[in-house]
């Protein structure tokens, strides 16, 4: 237990839910053959890590930042540029990741030191401005980033679909490089998630919560809130950069739309809120619910649309037209905020079995 954080999910239902999601993710290549389900599973892993790192800022330290996608992008571009420039080798992966971590950490430190001493609303505005500037920069520096087109690159041999770990057949052809790449994403995301769990359960994590609750009192107890907030900002940025690197390795592509766009920032916010702020486990639940809805809601509505149309109710069917899936995603979000204001995790924790 002590290798871990000593912070179990708490509550039978929640534990069951988290175990179920993680279990399905762990066995995804064998349970759901095909490339789309594996893409969805990998996206859930990456987003769970990304959202968890954002929760460290928003849910634990009470800092509202809009620059999280920027750090995510730094990680993704770091790996992309290194693999593009140096060729497909593990050295390039680690060199790119190292450079990305250095850049992300330095940027987060600068933003933190310059603007975390002011009110949190100003910090939010500063991060918005910096993130927008960074997104423009990334799309303009075509020679480095590939501009709007982004960078497509090759990953190391072992992660390519053609690579066979063992003679195919034993696992129905599942033991190829794609599976290996998936387990790289899953494994790294899992380890980093556990590290985040430990951070929030450390004395430092408690101080972050204290600052969120009552910064004035935290100062009176001798805690320097600017230092703590800046440290939280840097940590969250490093974890986000790792999530970005994983995303790049999985997609074998990095572009502005997959990493830096503001819509991803909104997705992260939605996932944190659905899952439950200040819980970390909410990141797993929120990412799973959101990515599944994003990928399968349209198909599900298509089925319902066809069925109802056949039953001769075109007006009802019109509501379920697959083209309107974003509307229903919005409705789902509003309902979940209304019924679970503390998120799914907060809700499951608040109602332990009497």
């Amino acid at each position: 237990m002590m290798i871990l954080s000593g912070n179990p999910p708490r509550g039978k239902l929640l534990t069951g839910l988290v175990v179920l999601v993680v279990g399905l993710l762990a066995l995804a290549p064998f349970l759901f053959p095909g490339s789309k389900p594996l893409n969805v599973a990998a996206k859930i892993c990456v987003y769970a890590l990304l959202v968890a790192s954002y929760d460290l800022l928003l849910g634990y330290a009470g800092i509202v930042s809009f620059a999280h996608t920027m750090f995510y992008g730094v990680g993704a571009y770091g790996v992309a540029i290194a693999l593009h420039a140096l060729g497909a080798s593990w050295f390039a992966v680690f060199a790119g990741l190292g450079a990305a971590l250095a850049v992300a950490g330095a940027l987060a430190l600068l933003i933190g030191l310059f603007s975390l001493r002011v009110q949190t609303i100003f910090f939010a505005m500063v991060t918005l401005a910096v993130a927008s500037a960074f997104a423009v920069l990334a799309s303009q520096l075509s020679w480095l980033t590939g501009g709007e087109d982004g960078r497509t690159f090759s990953v190391p041999q072992a992660l390519r679909p053609g690579f066979q770990l063992i003679d195919s057949g034993a696992f129905g052809g599942a033991a190829n490089g794609r599976t290996l790449a998936y387990y790289l994403v899953f494994g790294v995301a899992a380890v980093l998630f556990l590290a985040l769990l430990r951070i929030v359960e450390s004395p430092f994590g408690r101080v972050l919560q204290a600052i969120r609750e009552n910064p004035f009192r935290a100062e009176a107890l001798g805690y320097r809130i600017v230092v703590h907030r800046t440290a939280a900002n840097v940590l969250a940025a490093l974890f986000a950069a790792c999530a970005g690197a994983l995303n790049a390795l999985w997609l074998r592509y990095t572009g502005p739309d997959t990493t830096l766009s503001f819509s991803i920032m909104l997705d992260i916010l939605v996932m944190v809120v659905i899952g439950g702020m200040g819980t970390l486990y909410g990141a797993i639940v929120g990412a799973a619910v959101f990515v599944l809805a994003q990928n399968y809601l349209q198909a599900l509505m298509g089925v319902a649309f066809g069925a109802i149309n056949k039953a001769g109710l075109p007006l009802v069917a019109g509501f379920l037209n697959p083209d309107r899936w974003l509307l229903w995603l919005g409705v789902l979000f509003i309902l979940s905020v209304y019924f679970f204001p503390t998120g799914v995790v907060g809700r499951l924790r608040a109602d332990p079995k009497p």
């Binding site: 002590m2 004395p203 408690r206 919560q209 009552n214 009192r217 320097r224 230092v227």
Partner: protein
């Protein structure tokens, strides 16, 4: 090492209003100083200037002879200036035990430890539990601070200050709003703290019976200025205090 605290011509102005007006005082270890005065006299503002929540317009605060007037509140807290607040000022969504542990953690200098989980710091947890027993809150250790009744929140406020293990204790109306049977718990704690003569204790208090029983010295603030300073009996009897603090002018012979 004993501690010394002094304010020299300490002043703060808010626009044209002088809230604390050239207050000079030396506080001695082993002495409990009560600061009294009518509402709005600047008692809490004076505390805020000493513990760093407000910055002085002019004048100085000296701790152990060092000028700390420009230092931030957290740095002053680390030097040993401990502060409890008049309006309850806790971490509302953290549990009672977590509130106290945060103070213990700061007292032990554990600010940035990120690697070890809380659960492994038995020393910090046991110390926090001991303080909860001292303030009679051990039964409620798992409650969120916001869920406590007012009297218990006041006790927790005092518990945070004691857990911080400061060299200068600053209590701001610690028993305000407490019931008759709750207040003695806090007053006993303060009386116990007095036994350690290496500490400075400062107490803003309205209840004169509390002041009489605890104080070694009384300072009277009126309109931000120090109008009396000395032995309790002398200060309470002085006409200036009768008028300033009780709002009674003895020469008119009005009954209290």
């Amino acid at each position: 090492m004993s501690v010394s605290l002094e304010t020299r011509d300490l002043t703060i102005r808010f626009g044209g209003h002088v809230a604390v007006d050239r207050v000079s005082c030396v506080f001695r270890p082993g002495e409990l100083t009560a600061i009294v005065g009518p509402n709005g006299a600047g008692k809490t503002t004076y505390f805020n200037l000493i513990s760093g929540q407000l910055r002085a317009s002019s004048g100085q605060v000296l701790l152990d002879g060092a000028d700390i007037t420009a230092e931030s509140a957290p740095l002053r807290a680390r030097r040993g200036l401990g502060r409890a607040f008049q309006l309850t000022n806790l971490f509302p969504n953290l549990t009672v035990a977590e509130n106290v542990r945060l103070a213990v953690q700061s007292a032990r200098g554990v600010h940035y430890n990120i690697l070890r989980p809380w659960m492994l710091r038995r020393d910090l947890i046991e110390r926090a539990d001991q303080i909860l027993v001292d303030v009679a809150l051990e039964q409620k250790r798992a409650h969120p601070a916001a869920a406590l009744p007012h009297g218990d929140q006041r006790k927790l406020e005092v518990a945070l200050l004691i857990a911080l293990e400061p060299r200068v204790f600053m209590f701001d109306e610690p028993t305000a709003g407490m019931s008759v049977d709750e207040a003695p718990v806090v007053l006993d704690l303060i009386a116990r703290l007095k036994k350690d003569t290496s500490k400075i204790i400062m107490l803003v208090e309205h209840k004169m019976d509390v002041v009489r029983s605890l104080a070694d010295r009384i300072i009277v603030l009126t309109n931000g200025a120090c109008v009396a300073d000395g032995e309790p009996a002398t200060v309470i009897a002085s006409p200036a205090v009768q008028e300033a603090y009780l709002g009674i002018a003895p020469k008119h012979g009005a009954p209290s």
